[in-house]
């Protein structure tokens, strides 16, 4: 067989394999309705109770507090959905279907990409549901604002799924889950300006916030949706892209080394 044909065949198979893994993740996600419901209710409670309660005595300029934190809550949804999706690879490694995947001819990179796209899709579906609730909290969409928001959601989902997969592939038990929640998700979320303006923070908090890539992602979404932003859109997008590239690379390497 001609070498180029053989290589073409190889890549075709890898693509079908990636599709298979993605298909599996989405099927499973859509079939587990209770998870879908609980991860929709959670952010709505944030918006209604936290946003409504604090917003009763507090607003950001012309914008209601509920609308102000809407991009942040959107980020929270994506963060939780995708990082835990990634971490579950610990479970996959131990049982069932993943053994079958590992013994297949697919390369580790393809397995990683298939998983990553699956997690991304979960994150997109989950945040899509929250986006539908936006108008209730004073968000109005234009094609531009919706497009930019979805782009940030996608980049955030890609990067964070990769982060979860990278951590999960190196873990050997579930015991680390709580640790990841307190040391990774919570700091990333609370130190991102998701819940407050970052213009007049004390110096130490400002420094940490400026170093957090998620700060720029929230800023980009808030800029598009509400016209409130601290950085130029190009910088926000640039940081989001860097976040994806870095974490996808780390995730791929982690999968290659997964034991």
């Amino acid at each position: 067989m001609d070498r180029s044909i053989r290589e073409g065949w190889f890549w075709m198979n890898e693509l079908w394999g990636i599709y298979a893994l993605w298909y599996r993740e989405v099927k499973v996600f859509l079939r587990e309705k209770s998870r879908l419901v609980s991860s929709t209710i959670n952010p709505l409670i944030w918006l209604v109770a936290f946003g409504g309660g604090l917003g009763a005595s507090f607003s950001v300029g012309e914008t209601t507090y509920q609308a102000f934190i809407f991009p942040g809550v959107l980020m929270l949804v994506v963060l939780f959905t995708t990082i835990f999706f990634g971490l579950y690879v610990v479970w996959d490694k131990k049982i069932d279907f993943f053994k079958e995947v590992l013994v297949s001819p697919l390369t580790r990179t393809s397995i990683f990409v298939g998983k990553m796209l699956g997690g991304c899709t979960d994150g997109l579906i989950q945040s899509g549901i929250i986006i539908l609730f936006g108008p209730i909290f004073g968000i109005t969409y234009t094609p531009y604002s919706l497009g930019i928001t979805l782009l940030f959601v996608l980049l955030l989902a890609m990067g964070t799924t990769s982060l979860g997969l990278a951590i999960g592939s190196q873990m050997t038990s579930f015991e680390g889950f709580g640790l990841v929640q307190s040391l990774v998700i919570m700091p990333l979320f609370f130190l991102s300006g998701a819940l407050y303006e970052i213009g007049n923070l004390p110096a130490w908090l400002g420094a940490v916030t400026y170093a957090n890539p998620l700060t720029y992602i929230v800023d980009g979404m808030r800029g598009a949706l509400l016209g409130i932003s601290s950085f130029p859109m190009a910088l926000d997008l640039g940081v989001a892209l860097a976040y994806v590239v870095l974490l996808v690379a780390i995730g791929t390497i982690s999968f290659e080394r997964m034991t």
Partner: protein, 319 residues
């Protein structure tokens, strides 16, 4: 030779799981790796399936070297794990579909092969149900069908009937025989069930502590080390003549019955009976693989918890 191993060895920190094994397996045979849990069977299988790299030595599978061409080997083998490896949130058919995608089964053949595989293991009617509603035996059948979907040259079955009840076990054996016939695939099976090796395999390698202790057909193994025993009640046995027969190892009298031990298993019953005179009762016991195993290793099969098997696969994933 579809599989050859050359001093293949796997060492862990303070354990040699597989110790310089040389094996040749012919195309089309059902080859058994029989040994107690922890003997190194699964480790050997994992190395042949390129899930684990050997520490020393190597093997060729379907003409490819496990060290150099793991990708090509993986396309030409099917693997059925001893613990369930189907996705229980998906239906049986969906599981097969995913497998077809991952192994590059051509698009135009997917549906046809999936339906064929389902009917081969009699799962057509339940194919649309979620796997979590399947019994253990059904799930194993589904995984057998899946292992063959991409038409592998070699099918590895790791303890295919572990944890199944005896009746289901018989069924699975029937399916494995059917697969071997209809798909003309080479089957490598690990087991610690004597009857399984005896009834399914063309050749059996007895493995203990990481090395091959004996290798032959089940009957050959029994011939080599086993002894048939005849027990009879007879009126006027000619014990002296029986003792002089070349294949008789010993004669003793037990509670009015004559017990004759033979040096080889076989068809000498007629001649012996002619020396026994009028016989009121005869019992012939053939040696079992269990006798062979006891003879070779000096002990019975060890038991091990399923948990340790899972760990073996987790380790196996590092390849």
């Amino acid at each position: 030779m579809i599989i050859r191993t050359f001093g293949i060895t796997k060492k862990y920190k303070n354990l040699t799981a597989v110790d310089h094994i040389d094996l040749s397996i012919e195309e089309g045979e059902i080859f058994g790796l029989l040994g107690p849990n922890g003997a190194g069977k699964t480790t050997l299988l994992s190395m042949l399936a390129t899930l684990l790299p050997p520490t020393e030595g190597t093997a060729t599978v379907n003409g490819y070297d496990v060290r150099r061409d793991p990708g090509k080997i993986r396309s030409s083998i099917g693997m059925v794990f001893q613990t369930p490896s189907s996705d229980d949130i998906l239906t049986g058919r969906e599981n097969l579909y995913l497998h077809a995608l991952m192994y590059g089964v051509p698009k135009e053949e997917r549906t046809k092969r999936i339906e064929e595989a389902l009917s081969l293991v009699d799962l057509t009617e339940r194919a649309g149900d979620l796997v979590k509603t399947y019994s253990g035996g059904m799930r194993r059948r589904l995984e057998l069908a899946r292992g063959l979907l991409h038409r592998p040259k070699i099918l590895f079955l790791d303890e295919p009937t572990l944890g199944l009840d005896p009746q289901t076990r018989q069924h699975i054996w029937d399916y494995i025989r059917r697969l071997a016939e209809e798909e003309s695939v080479t089957i490598i099976i690990t087991t610690h069930y004597m009857e399984e090796a005896d009834s399914l395999c063309d050749r059996v390698a007895i493995i203990d502590h990481g090395s091959v202790k004996a290798l032959d057909s089940p009957s050959g193994l029994k011939m080599k080390v086993g002894k048939s025993m005849i027990k009879a009640r007879a009126e006027r046995p000619d014990i002296d003549s029986i003792k002089r027969l070349p294949y008789v190892a010993g004669v003793s009298l037990e509670e009015g019955a004559v017990a004759i031990t033979l040096t080889e298993a076989g068809a000498h019953l007629q001649e012996i009976i002619s020396y026994l005179g009028v016989v009121s009762y005869v019992e012939l016991r053939e040696p079992t693989l269990n006798d062979v195993f006891l003879h070779i290793t000096g002990k019975g099969i060890r038991e091990e918890s399923p948990q340790e098997w899972t760990e073996a696969y987790v380790r196996a994933g590092s390849g």
